[in-house]
């Protein structure tokens, strides 16, 4: 048995699920191969960790709560709440998109009629006051103009 095959069989070996015909060859290989022997020990250590992990018990009164839950579900019949909870994100997203489309279209209609000119005028640069010639901006513009002329 080579290292590659041995590596594939480590888990089954540790779990006692390795077929009898493979066990002898597997054990013989790990005796002679240090790398594979270390790999087996690593998996064994991990397996031992799990053995130390905590075992949780159902909380006190669990069965009573389940029976009460069943009784309440039987009394109520089918409820839309779980369905709503499951799809709540999608519903909220759709509502937001729909609201956005409606309000966007409403605003654009109003703007088209009332404020279009105002918005268009804001694109023209002549809304700004001319730069005073003595200011830093004025000096800069004058220098840029001279440079452009050259």
């Amino acid at each position: 048995m080579n290292c590659s095959k041995t590596h594939k069989l480590i888990s089954a070996y540790i779990d006692g699920e390795l077929k009898a015909i493979n066990i002898k060859a597997f054990e013989s290989h790990i005796k002679s191969c240090r790398a594979c022997s270390i790999a087996v020990e690593e998996v064994r250590n991990q397996h031992n960790f799990f053995a130390l992990a905590e075992e949780f018990k159902a909380p006190y009164g669990f069965s009573t709560r389940v029976m009460a839950n069943i009784a309440s579900k039987k009394a109520k019949g089918f409820s839309w709440t779980p369905l709503f909870t499951r799809f709540a994100e999608v519903i909220v997203m759709l509502v937001m998109i729909f609201t956005g489309i409606i309000s966007g279209s409403f605003l654009s209609d109003r703007l088209a009629n009332e404020k279009k000119a105002l918005i268009m005028s804001s694109f023209y640069l002549d809304i700004f006051d001319p730069t005073p010639p003595d200011s830093l901006g004025g000096v800069y513009l004058a220098m840029a103009e001279v440079k452009n002329e050259k």
């Binding site: 991990q46 130390l52 992990a53 905590e54 389940v66 709540a88």
Partner: protein
Amino acid sequence: MSNSSEDLSIIDRFKNSDEAVFEKLILKYQDRIYNLCRHMLGNAHDAEDAAQDTFVKAYRNLTKFKPESSLYTWLYRIAVNTCLDYKKRPLFASLFRKSDEGDELIREHSSSWPSPERLYESKQIGLALHGGIRKLSPKLRTVIILKEIEGLSYEGIADILEVSIGTVKSRIARARDDLKVLLKDFTEQK
């Protein structure tokens, strides 16, 4: 895995309209199902909800259950699928939940108290394992919990997940390889 005579009696009585007998079934399996959910989901609130959902689903479908199948496997299959659905739960449903890592450690050990050192070590290992398990993909997380925490055989896991034994074998090997990397820091400290 065949059903015990007690399970068969419960199923039979349930099918004959004795619905109260279902509580016996809960009492018999609640610890194993809760433990599975607790390890799959990582927190007490979700684990209890998922375990409750498992039994509610079992209650609804027990009349359709075929006694020749294994009740234990059937319950585990419901629990695994419920937990996987919980993992996929929308953000909306999880917004109102708070994290309570390990808050039930004390109240769940009403008898046979372990020593403080043992409790501390177990807690540390539990946290490290949970941290590692949580980073595994759902498929790998499920097989490693069923194998290492629940101690099921490859055949039992294959029955629960309805996959081949070869698939179980390869998933367990991959989960261990991934966990080896994820738990590297913790194991080096030990």
